[in-house]
Symmetry: C2
Subunit: 296 residues, 2 copies
């Protein structure tokens, strides 16, 4: 199966899970459940889920609870997009080619929708119906992993630093902090959650962590590059919006050429980190390469 | 020890824990950690924590992890206040007599501060340093309890229904839904978390759940009453703001007198629910009475 089929197949599994287990829009109060579904089903490659599933498979995992973990990552990712798009933050009107949550439901509901998706992630992870087959100790470890990655020293920290960087001259170290946390941290956690669920050895976990970090950073650099180069149709949001917001980006600091080179270098290192896994990690290798070849 | 000393002593324990374990304002990026501390230390009775501790003691609990659980409830409570105060929601400028988070740090940081506090609650609950002494199964159960209570069918659902009720004529059932969820659900969970941590029997848990529900609803009714009657100094926020926002409240629907009577009746029922606990539940009884006697 080539990587595109793999991506399609896994995305379908995750989408089916989300569709099935997100609260029904009939549940009271309907508007919040409708708004949660709106943003979750508004598209998305499910890259974090797929990295989690692939890391799990590479670590020899066989547990059915993994789909819950993978889907929970998408809840956290989508919450972060909804809040980032708010007028008080990036003020984006389009996301994946569709009106952002607050354009459809208003700011108040959009804030609460993000809150609800974040909370639901932890509800799913601790729901006995979903994670019964994992040992409780592993479940707690995974919740801790996700909470740390999403928190004020992780994803939120990156978003705060990003907001503060607007219009400022920042150094490369701060830019790396922003990218490693704003986007990279959840991608790293996705890989780690897969490994933890499979009870990966400390050595394998370290290798996968390194892989996840580098893929996460490369992903964000490519996002910046595509933001400059991309066509509106492809990215589904107005391109050049980073420049308009005076955000610090890799292309702005290093130029497009050098940014691409650094992303390629990171992917080379990510693949290198998988050395000991051999052929078991071939999907992870392909996924790393996919991250810098993608057009959107 | 009278109830006021009990309240003071427990509040001090919780405040010390929060002070000690909230991320340092030196941690990067400083602004978010400063903003988290600002709202957490801006006051508050720590009622949810204290209900959790008292339910735990009534259930015979002896575990040191309980303080983490109690403090986590305050993280969730404070996050909900920060988001509720936002311009897109209740647009409050004062909270506990101090400028609200967004008045001090701006809307973007206030949204992220709420997000960070919510996330930190789950980080604390799953942090092995804090909850090692609990069985993992109990930890997962408590995380599930909190996530359900805080989610779109709990606290967030109540806030959504409250927002939607503004300017609308709503029936008593919907008003009860709002109060039972917006405020009551986290209060109920506080009691339940204490009971779960103590591995309370199913029967005791049911009794404490009933107690928590009634106290939670009475608490919100009294909040509405105080909002109408209260002096600005006492509540620390502009009084009459519910009426200004055309919110559905008990006093508006039933009048002040009847609202007070219903609150008293609920507290009587709450105390009644504790019957089988005998003297072990004397603190919970006093706390229930405190809820309707408080001036703020």
């Amino acid at each position: 199966m080539d990587i595109n089929n793999y991506l399609r197949q896994k995305k379908e599994l995750v989408d089916d899970f989300l569709e099935r287990y997100l609260p029904s829009p009939n549940e009271h109060p309907p508007i919040i459940h409708e708004a949660m579904r709106y943003s979750i089903t508004a598209g998305g490659k499910r890259l974090r889920s797929i990295l989690c599933l692939a890391a799990y498979e590479a670590s020899g995992g066989k547990d059915s609870a993994i789909l819950t973990l993978a889907a929970s990552l998408e809840l956290v990712h989508t919450y972060s997009l909804i809040h980032d798009d708010l007028p008080a933050m990036d003020n984006d009107e389009l996301r994946r080619g569709k009106p952002t949550n607050h354009k459809v439901y208003g700011e108040a509901i959009a804030i609460l929708t993000g809150d609800a998706l974040l909370t639901l992630a932890f509800e799913w992870l601790s729901n006995p119906q979903f994670t019964r087959s994992l040992e409780y100790q592993v479940t707690v470890r995974i919740i801790y992993e996700l909470a740390q990655a999403a928190g004020s020293s992780g994803m939120i920290g990156g978003q705060v630093a990003d907001l503060k960087s607007q219009g400022e001259k920042i150094n490369p170290r701060e830019l790396e902090y922003i990218h490693a946390n704003k986007t990279g941290r959840l991608i790293r956690a996705s890989v780690r959650v897969g490994a933890l669920a499979a009870r990966s050895s400390a050595m394998s976990l370290a290798a996968l962590t390194s892989y996840g970090e580098k893929v996460g950073l490369a992903f964000q650099i490519m996002d910046d590059v595509l933001n400059v180069e991309g066509e509106k149709d492809f990215l589904g949001k107005s391109t050049g919006s980073d420049a308009a917001a005076k955000k610090a980006t890799y292309p702005k600091m290093l130029g497009l050429e050098e940014s691409r080179r650094q992303a390629r270098e990171l992917i080379k290192q990510a693949v290198g980190a998988l050395g000991t896994f051999g052929s078991k990690a071939s999907r992870l290798q392909e996924l790393a390469k996919y991250v810098i070849s993608r057009r959107r």
